[in-house]
């Protein structure tokens, strides 16, 4: 993918877009392997959402590890969790995600870590932001091999929440509930709409005008590269050390 910038990293661009979704006076959580969402949420907390309460599951820093994972699930079931972040080894155009197995479930090619609560959180969190650092047609498929959590539900299922957007290393898509489809919101600077289409295995809506994703301001970069990077590194030392977050 031709994304390249000397001014900011892809992780910083994604975190900046994520931060805009976070509202003040809400509960927000994230799970394992979510360093970029963590950076985005902390950026929001440092700027426009100081009274947002961030309760990532399983954090080691006591400042972040405020309540147990079980209690995060309880918050979600009570309808009080505004945002959660989910990835997926596969994500399809219906918003279904696969965190379980690739290939035939009984004889899988790959056994993945598993659902880890996503089967409930995806339904009950007000808004779920899907994220992946790899935007390819092996990840974004027409139909996932295993539905670990479903993007949509029938009338008999109480479902206040679901997918709200998808943020990847090349673009941002929003989920359009009525059409049950993703719609391209923006492409990251240097990426074309055709490249997104070529690397996406499902159909999505493309508006006439597709802007470039808004880039981080110097102030945002300063925050991301200061205390936020330290805190993210405290939870995800490997990710930060390997330059996954840049800088």
């Amino acid at each position: 993918m031709p994304f390249r910038s000397d001014d900011y990293t892809i992780g910083e661009l994604m975190a900046t877009r994520i931060s805009r979704e976070v509202r003040d006076d809400t509960y927000v959580s994230s799970g394992a392997a979510s360093p970029v969402p963590m950076a985005g949420v902390l950026l929001a907390q440092e700027t426009h959402a100081p009274d947002m309460i961030y309760v990532p599951i399983g954090a080691s820093n006591p400042e972040l590890n405020l309540i147990s994972g079980k209690e995060v699930f309880d918050l979600a079931q009570r309808g009080r969790l505004d945002i959660f972040f989910l990835g997926g080894a596969q994500i399809d155009g219906h918003g279904n995600i696969n965190l379980t197995t690739i290939g035939d479930h009984d004889r899988p090619d790959v056994r993945l870590p598993g659902a880890a609560g996503s089967g409930m959180l995806y339904f009950m969190t007000n808004r779920v932001i899907l994220f992946r650092m790899e935007h390819t047609s092996r990840v974004f498929v027409e139909n996932v091999d295993f539905i670990t959590s479903a993007g949509t539900s029938g009338e008999r299922v109480e479902r206040p929440g679901g997918p709200s957007m998808l943020i990847t290393n090349i673009c941002v898509m929003t989920y359009q509930k009525e059409q049950k489809k993703f719609e391209l919101e923006s492409v990251h600077p240097g990426v074309t709409v055709d490249e997104v289409r070529e690397n996406t295995g499902f159909e999505f809506l493309i508006p006439d005008e597709v802007p470039a994703t808004t880039t981080p301001t110097p102030e945002q970069l300063e925050l991301l590269r200061g205390s936020i990077k330290d805190r993210v590194g405290g939870e995800y030392p490997g990710f930060v050390a390997s330059g996954g977050f840049g800088g």
Binding site: G69, K70, G238
Partner: protein
């Protein structure tokens, strides 16, 4: 508690994997279904924890460990350290599992290896990588077992992996 209702999950393939889960009409929410998941009743639970005291009280890393202990017939606990004070009076830094829920405690420092046990030690990612590479083939997996597991005591294993971890 014989079973627990949960929101969500209906419509996922997880339901198909668990024939003992049930979907019924939610008695408090007409026209809507809800999932019921039966209790898990383990014969034996194995928990790796921070500390144990002379009475068998255990200080565990997770809130959920106590529920696992309560649910299980026998509870085997390995710990990083045995302490000489009463953990029920000072459970700082972890979650107390009281002695009535514990069957057996084993002192097993570095017992999470190659996993991490904060704040005692980090995960040994080098060892994980080595295991993942070895386990790609049956021969590699067998060679790994010969080197680290078969014919070795816990102390020998700990000695090997501690020595290997030092230069990194």
């Amino acid at each position: 508690m014989p079973f627990i209702p949960s929101r969500g999950v209906i419509g996922t393939d997880l339901v198909n994997l668990h024939p003992n889960w049930k979907i019924i009409e939610d008695p408090y929410n007409e026209g809507h279904d809800i999932l019921l998941v039966p209790a898990i009743r383990p014969d034996i639970a194995m928990i790796h924890a921070f500390k144990a005291d002379q009475n068998g009280n255990v200080l565990a890393p997770g809130y959920e460990d106590r529920m696992v202990a309560q649910a299980s017939d026998k509870v085997l606990v390995t710990v990083e350290e045995i302490v000489d004070y009463d953990l029920s009076e000072d459970p700082r830094g972890g979650h107390l599992i009281p002695w009535p829920f514990i069957s057996l405690v084993i002192h097993a420092p570095r017992g999470s290896h190659p996993g991490g046990m904060k704040p005692y030690y980090e995960a040994d990612n080098g060892h994980f990588s080595r295991y993942m590479e070895a386990s790609r083939t049956a021969d590699g997996f067998n060679a790994y077992l010969d080197e680290f597991v078969r014919g070795h005591t816990e102390d020998e294993y700990r000695e090997m992996v501690t020595r290997a971890a030092v230069p990194a």
